[in-house]
Amino acid sequence: MNKLTSYTIKKIHKSYIEKILTPTSFIDLCLQKAKQASELNAFVTLTVEEAENHGIESEKRLYIDKNVKPLEGISIGIKDNFCTKNISTTCASNMLRNFVPTYDATVYSRLRQAGACLIGKCNLDEFAMGSGTIDSIFGPTRNPWGYRKNDDKWRIAGGSSGGSAVAVSSGACVAALGSDTGGSTRNPAALCGVVGLKPTYGLVSRYGLIPLVNSMDVPGIIARTVEDVTAVLNCIAGPDELDSTTLKRDFNPIVMKELDMSKIKIGIPKEYNCVGMSKDVLETWQYVTKLLKNEKTMIRSVSLPNTSVSIAVYSILNQCEVASNMARYDGLEYGLRANEDYSTEELYASSRSQGFNNVVRWRIFAGNYFLLARNYDKYFIKALKLRRLISNDFKNVFNGEDSVDLLLTPTTLTDAPRYEDFVSKHNRDQCAFQDYCTQPANMAGIPAVSIPVRLSNDNLPVSLQLMGPCLSEDLLLNVARKIEQLVNFQHTHNF
């Protein structure tokens, strides 16, 4: 093994057993990599001390107790909107700049129980509101693809989990957790050439994930291979007493297996081909469809008629839930407290104005407008009704006559935009464009995975998305792995 980006969990464990590598030496390599790639700005906090301690613990379990846990000695990054006990958790916002949680998010404690080692907390758009990882108080995250030192023509990482995607893409971590409300895990994974999974709503606990949109948020998983994503999912999925919205049935770990592709029916939803989609993306979509046809997979054109309004419906629901969720930040119990003592309301208003960036404040405003007594039915209830129609679109193609097992679509409309082009647009316009293909899955609560396929004309990754019905992760990930084998994507950037 020569390059960090070629390390998979299986290979690492094999090397541990053959003692070509040890957990402490591997974690050290990962930390070095993270420091060496610091100009990409993937991390808000590098947890050097924790990483070294976790590595030592893994080494002891491995060589003294002879007990190999599923993620033993595996380096991970966690998006900085998951609570980690005694490790600052900022949401990339001034509001939480000094916030140190006193408890762990369930997903993090499960990763630790599985033997994983924390390298650091990853950068994001403030409170995960964005699709570029450019709106962070710690500055934007840069995409390793096409990156040259001292060149201001760099590409964005996508978002809002851009730090997590870059941590994995650059080799600093084997896997990372993001969160996915409208595509925030799949979008940066797609632009950075790694695999990104949004699980079924309720399959993975949200306890300790600082909420954005409660009815759509899910923890997401990013890794370089489908198999590694699956290994992480197997460790974190399943019911959690601390999150009442987790599904109360046992989760059966997913096993990677050879599939008879001729028995799989894949739908191509025609509404996902929208204005603004680049030629590279369209051709990549056709390319994989052809590869699947060669495998005798049944390919069928299908229709999800409400797709084009989904983004506007999503935008209303997002802003309404944001307005409600952000009400908790008042500066009294935790978070930024302004220097005001005239009245409680004055303190609240000043703290919130100083603590939130414009994007957050404006979403709160719009959300409260839609929630006004006179607008509640007109916008909020209307959007929830349309949400049912969007969700029914999926039910119709996955059930009923002429049903398909999975859907194949692009993840993003283009490859990674240049930073200067991206910031010339407003946050809402950025999201309305970038989330077009990803947010419908959140509206319906269904699982979706983004897989890198090949490089665009500008030598940037182009990825496709597979979606399936609720709790179809087993089929979804096995078909994703098949596509991964067929396209054989290579991590060829300079990091």
């Binding site: 229709s303 983004i311 009294l332 009245s343 809402r428 309305a432 609720c470």
Partner: protein
């Protein structure tokens, strides 16, 4: 109620399906879905509404840009209003058909006063500290303006 709308959308689906069944992917490039355009309509939010939103949000909208963004968000949202949703129930949660249970009403956590107070900037003994309440925000802003004009 849903039954009817399901039948209608199902029938529509069948028509579309039979129309596109034999289309190959190449045709996709000529039939692109149009993302909704949101720039046509002019929406105005009056001063009273803005003041109300500021009070409800407890955030100051101290720029004209903020107002423009709000009006633009409303214009974008208005694009869904014409769609027929008669006899469709709102979808509040995708877990509506799941049995999401309630836990027993027993104490499972406690003795964490230190933890809870740990992240507060100001505290006195074992309490959070807040300035005087019951003074609405608008009043303060008017007071301040008066003071400014006096001085």
């Amino acid at each position: 109620m849903n039954y009817i709308s399901t039948i209608i959308s199902y029938n529509k689906l069948q028509i579309i399906k039979s129309a596109v069944r034999n289309l190959c992917l190449k045709n996709l490039s000529t039939r692109q879905a149009q993302p909704i355009d949101h720039k046509e309509e002019n929406v105005r939010v009056d001063k009273n509404t803005l003041a109300l939103l500021e009070r409800l949000s407890l955030v100051k909208c101290d720029s004209t840009e903020g107002l423009t963004v709000l009006e633009d968000s409303i214009a974008f949202a208005n694009k869904i209003l014409h769609i027929n949703t008669d006899n469709v129930d709102p979808l509040y949660s995708v877990l509506e058909n799941e049995n999401v249970y309630l836990r027993n009403d027993v104490v499972t956590q406690g003795d964490c006063q230190k933890d809870i107070l740990k992240n507060a900037v100001l505290k006195e003994d074992d309490y959070f500290v807040a300035p005087p309440g019951n003074i609405p925000l608008q009043e303060i802003q008017i007071d301040k303006k008066e003071q400014e004009t006096k001085s």
